[in-house]
Symmetry: C4
Subunit: 348 residues, 4 copies
């Protein structure tokens, strides 16, 4: 079976992963409307391609918070990579470094931050944080990440409680006994009583600020009002995200929300987006609408499920090739030439 596009990896993962793992990764909240809308919304955006521009030399590099990456696609934080591949997040870290891009490691990793760091020294990594009822546990995590050379702190804002994912309820999803949320082994046990703190508010940004010198990126913003609050509270970046449609169902597709957020932010901080990226041209659309970079979640897991580090590299390489080609066919030779003039919203 030739792996030609990302849906080939999806089909592979669906076929070969244990059902309970596939269901967990695939799950959306309630009717999965938002999960699917994330993808459909890209289809409603049409390019306005320009021709006869010199695209013989293509430059697809970009920078996020000052660090250069080989192309504007990073790895979004997702949990439990050992469900996809035995080496788990260590493989993810290696693939991201090999492709010279950014990997956001999740609080819910099945490897420790130390293992992740050791697996791919020098790779560009951010750390994603869920704030715990036990604030000391969170503080310790943040400071471990900083000490290990993680270069950004991503605060997830859209999970005061876990969304209702019907298949996980039906399956009685829990980690197999030989896997652990290793970073927090002492602090809690997953899937029993939620350790996450639903009382977190904007003021806690100041608390995080007091713990670390890392840039703070807030993940889960979908409205101009919250984008304004994020900027006002001094974050360095915003990830427009609806948690892959796994939290509140029937909110906006992220690519639609991106437009609203970018407009509100007016360039004061970097804006990224995740959710629904399946082709290189989706990346081009997101950049045309103002994203500095996109992050992929499920496709990275499909790559891991296919062949671990190597499979994830395949996924990234395909996205990279497709992104370069779609840039060229749209008439852009470098990322700096990408702008809103390249796209229009279909009336359909």
């Amino acid at each position: 079976m030739a792996m030609v596009c990302l849906s080939d990896f999806e089909a592979y993962a669906k076929k070969y992963l244990p059902k309970i793992a596939w269901d967990y990764f695939a799950a959306g909240a309630d009717d999965c409307t938002t999960r699917d809308e994330n993808i459909l919304a890209y289809k409603r955006i049409r390019f306005r391609p320009r021709v006869l521009r010199d695209v013989s030399v293509m430059d697809i590099r970009t920078k996020i918070l000052g660090s250069e990456i080989s192309f504007p696609v990073g790895i979004a934080p997702t949990g439990f990579h050992q469900l996809a591949w035995p080496d788990g997040e260590k493989s993810t870290a290696r693939a991201a470094r090999a492709m010279n891009t950014c990997y956001i490691a999740s609080t819910y990793s099945t490897c420790t931050l130390e293992e992740i760091s050791a697996a791919a020294p020098g790779g560009l990594r951010w750390f994603q944080l869920y704030v715990h009822r036990n604030r000391a546990a969170s503080q310790q995590l943040v400071q471990r990440a900083e000490a290990l050379g993680f270069q950004g702190l991503v605060l997830t804002a859209d999970l005061p409680y876990t969304g209702k994912r019907r298949d996980d309820v039906r399956n009685g999803f829990r980690l197999p006994p030989h896997m652990k949320v290793k970073n927090l082994e002492q602090a809690f046990e997953v899937c029993k009583m939620s350790p996450l703190d639903p009382s977190v508010t904007w003021d806690d940004i100041y608390w995080l600020r007091s713990l670390t010198r890392l840039p703070i990126i807030i993940k889960g913003i979908l409205t101009r009002e919250d984008a304004e609050l994020a900027v006002g509270h001094g974050v360095q970046g915003i990830i427009v995200s609806n948690h892959g449609g796994r939290q509140l169902d029937e909110g906006p597709a992220t690519i639609d929300a991106l437009v609203e957020v970018v407009e509100a932010v007016r360039g004061r901080v970097e804006v990224y987006v995740d959710g629904g990226i399946r082709k290189g041209s989706d990346v081009l659309k997101a950049l045309a609408l103002g994203a500095k970079c996109v992050f992929i979640g499920r496709p990275a897991l499909w790559g891991l499920a296919y062949k671990g580090e190597e499979g994830l590299q395949d996924v990234l390489r395909i996205l990279q090739d497709e992104f370069r080609l779609s840039m060229a066919l749209a008439g852009c030779a470098s990322v700096s030439e990408i702008g809103q003039h390249l796209v229009q919203f279909s009336k359909l």
Copy 2:
């Protein structure tokens, strides 16, 4: 089979109810367009969720006409509950009281008002009235309900004649011989010649007013013009309803009509809505658009069909949990924080 969401109960009821009963409950008028639109219209409403608000303590209680209920979901009036469960409306009354919410008992109950009252003393109940050609029968019913402690009188306005439900015609639907429209055993026999009075007009509100001190709620309003007339005639509440799509096909979905009615009413009376509620987030949408409370029809019957009183409680508990979760994920800690800013209409 795990009962995770309301459609699980629907699937159960479809599988285990006699076809003639399932068809009767499921029926919509003509092509069933409005029945289905009631559900689809919710899908076209998108949340604008807010993040980083303290949702550690959730308060989902509300009041309708001064009575507190545990969450803004009541039981809409539907007929013939014995078709779903042997104890019929007695089970419904018990489940509603157990969940501390309001039950609107139908004129077409298969238990008497007295049986319903005795089954769940102290429960919050309203009585739904069809006006009969024999006005004395109607007067007697209203006064029995008031004497039994029912706390509201719901006048159904959209059934001068019964809608054309093709499956009922094909099935030759009628109640089995051992069931009776008990409240009216003397007054008429169902499914022969219609006893309902198609000459009822707005002036009859005054007649009802003269019969009882109960608040009058009018059910079946879909336009601003009729909402204005309702307020002008001194009703205490309006239920935006299209009778579950069982009367005039191809009218508006109730959630769409709600917007128009709420705007016309300008807070002068309480406005409720029924039709198409299938998830806790639907309740949140209805409240965001101005409903004080929603009422469920078919899902209550599915709950009864599953396990009687207990099954209906399951349905209500699922809705309650989903409503609470969707409120939290949208950034609201109490019902008073819900407002129109939470939603937008999708252009699709």
Copy 3:
């Protein structure tokens, strides 16, 4: 099998008619887009039903060009009724008279005008004309119709050439040898060289006017420009029609074109519509949008195919009952109460 709604008759006809006859009646031009759009367009119109109006006494009669009919549904001109039922147009005439409505007999009848008249003396009938290259033949037809008591002359304007109906081409459609286009046996033979005159223009209205005192109704108008021309040339009525989607594919649905035509005509002549009527509520929508009456084509043929005169009466009676019920449920007790306030166009 119970005949509950018009699609029951359609299913019957599809099952029992010879394929070549079914295909001929069902045919639309090219991709059949307009044929199907005629039906879909009704679905995009939503009622705004009013409640608590006295609908105990319903009056569904109307008048067309001064003649009272029992309800605003007549029989559109369609050809070759013997393909549906042995007695052909004689059965159609009898059914229309029995239901006290108007029947527009086609030039392409398989019975003579004399046979049609004799079959149902005193029935309200109009005659539909295709203008022939042999103008004398047309003149003779018009004058025969007038002498036989037909009360209107319907000029079909949208068939300078016959549309491309792929199934008819594949089937090599032609009338079976024992059927004839009897009114024109001498003048031409169908399906060889077309006898219709593609040079007919608006000036030919004056020529028709010179032949007869009958009111002239023009059929096939879809634009405001042509509606204005029709009024300017002194016709008495307009039938908004796209020939059941059998001529130019991908023109407007007739119910959509009706709005434009009614607006242009400003009440100067009566406007009717055909195409896509499948339920009583479709009739109500057409009247709300300004039609004085609608005409049914294929459903009449299905009724004939089911049981001849009796089957067509069944179809008409169902439409009548559905129309009366939908009027009542929309809050109208008589046709004069129907108006544009009853409907709105769905944004979907």
Copy 4:
């Protein structure tokens, strides 16, 4: 099997062509969205047909760059006609001449320009050019074409790199060994390293101008900005094209882009369109929206696959008959009567 409409030829070709050839011709880039949109977009355009106009004498001829053709449909440049029929482009040339229309021969022909010319002397032909890294090879081609009597030079602007057509990747598509890109046998070998020059810009129009006196037509324009540039650089014609959806996926349908381009061009040069033409009425729509002529790609290949020269003539004849009929049914007797008043965009 009767060949009644173009989709009959499509079905034939799909059934009888080798899968690798069918896939190559059918391929669209990525998800094939644009390929399919080219067709769907026509469906969203509705005619406003006019009636009672004298259409007894129909004139469907037109002129492109001064040359008369029998009707406004030419053959778009597509590659590798021997994959469809042994005689390849020689058959295409013969069919185009027989039908008195224009054939744009592709750089990627499997016959030489000399063979094409000799096959159908006197036929109206244009030559389509891909600019090579080896500019001398391109210069020689252009000058051979001019010397052979080709009357136009079509520069394809939308292929700096080849689009990603998943099926071709899966199939490992390449020409069978007995076929050659004959015009360039010395210059390159297809499907190894691309010989096309991705550095071509607008300035190269001046270079082409210096090579030949042929009118230059630019193919692949989709925006008003590029249309303005094309006019500014002195081209004689523009073909609005997205390469049949084979290059950048999710750009506009060509019929939608046509409107924008025609508006920008304001009659200064001729505008043509290709992509999605499947019926004679599509041609009418394109002309109503300002195209001087349309070109067909895949349908021509299906015709070749059916019966070579004869099959392609069948395809053209069907389009011609359908175009003539739809013109008449829309009320136009000659191409000069076609205008924007004939169409409107559906809101759906």
